[in-house]
């Protein structure tokens, strides 16, 4: 079974702090993703990575950065936390379509999330 592990289930931080959220997957997936989930807004993509040291902005990257130094690990960084970044953060991973072949897609597999509160 695919396992995506997020380092913390609950996290409380203060405004202005630098916050690190960590995610590790054990399936040798090329792609990794960070989402936030808010009531009424659904899952929104923050950043994703399709290879080590490669990253691309998602739909809402402002105020966030990411790091992928190893294939299995993808970190989300809140440079200076603000109260509007209070949310549920979800990490996901999937195979690359290059590995699978064009026209074939595999689902993203999710961790159990980190509920982050910024006070």
């Amino acid at each position: 079974d695919v396992k995506v592990t997020q380092s913390s289930r609950y996290l409380v931080k203060r405004t202005g702090e630098k916050v690190f959220l960590e995610c590790v997957q054990d399936m040798d997936h090329e792609n990794m993703f960070w989402y936030r989930q808010d009531p009424g807004l659904g899952l929104r993509l923050i950043y994703f990575s399709y290879d080590v040291k490669m990253k691309e902005k998602g739909d809402i990257p402002e105020g966030y950065s990411v790091s992928r130094e190893k294939k299995e690990r993808f970190s989300l960084i809140l440079e200076s936390a603000s109260t509007n970044q209070t949310s549920m953060y979800l990490c996901a991973s999937s195979f690359s379509t290059v590995r699978l072949g064009q026209g074939i897609t595999q689902p993203q597999h999710f961790g159990d999330g980190t509920r982050l509160s910024i006070l």
């Binding site: 195979f95 690359s96 999330g113």
Partner: protein, 113 residues
């Protein structure tokens, strides 16, 4: 812009009362449509992938179907353990190798005794 709309927002059923959840989508070109189940405090759990109109997939009391504009998740004789939020997501053909998904906001299902 790719859009995914799920309805209803919330649905309350009695045990055994069958129903359907809807996911309508507007995309430039569909590579795949995914259904996920999410329990409170947990991450989404993958259920089905559908690729082309007319395709159907089944798992226990759940059956997913796909047309060119929408997908349905049919729940037959639901049980309380089927209570969860059901999410629909689409992947379009131009997302490169990274298989990005666009999610709907989900349907919150509650099944009572």
């Amino acid at each position: 812009e790719d859009q995914v709309t799920q309805s209803p927002e919330a649905l309350r059923l009695q045990e055994g009362e069958s129903s359907s959840l809807n996911c309508s989508y507007t995309v430039s070109g569909l590579r795949g449509l995914f259904w996920y189940r999410q329990d409170p405090g947990k991450g989404p759990e993958f259920l089905f992938t559908l690729y082309s109109a007319g395709e159907e997939k089944e798992k226990e009391r759940l059956k997913a179907t796909l047309t060119k504009k929408e997908s349905f998740l049919h729940i037959t004789a639901p049980k309380p353990e089927d209570s969860a939020t059901y999410l629909c997501a689409v992947q379009v053909v131009d997302t490169g190798t990274a298989s990005k998904l666009t999610f709907g906001t989900g349907t919150r299902l509650q099944v009572t005794l």
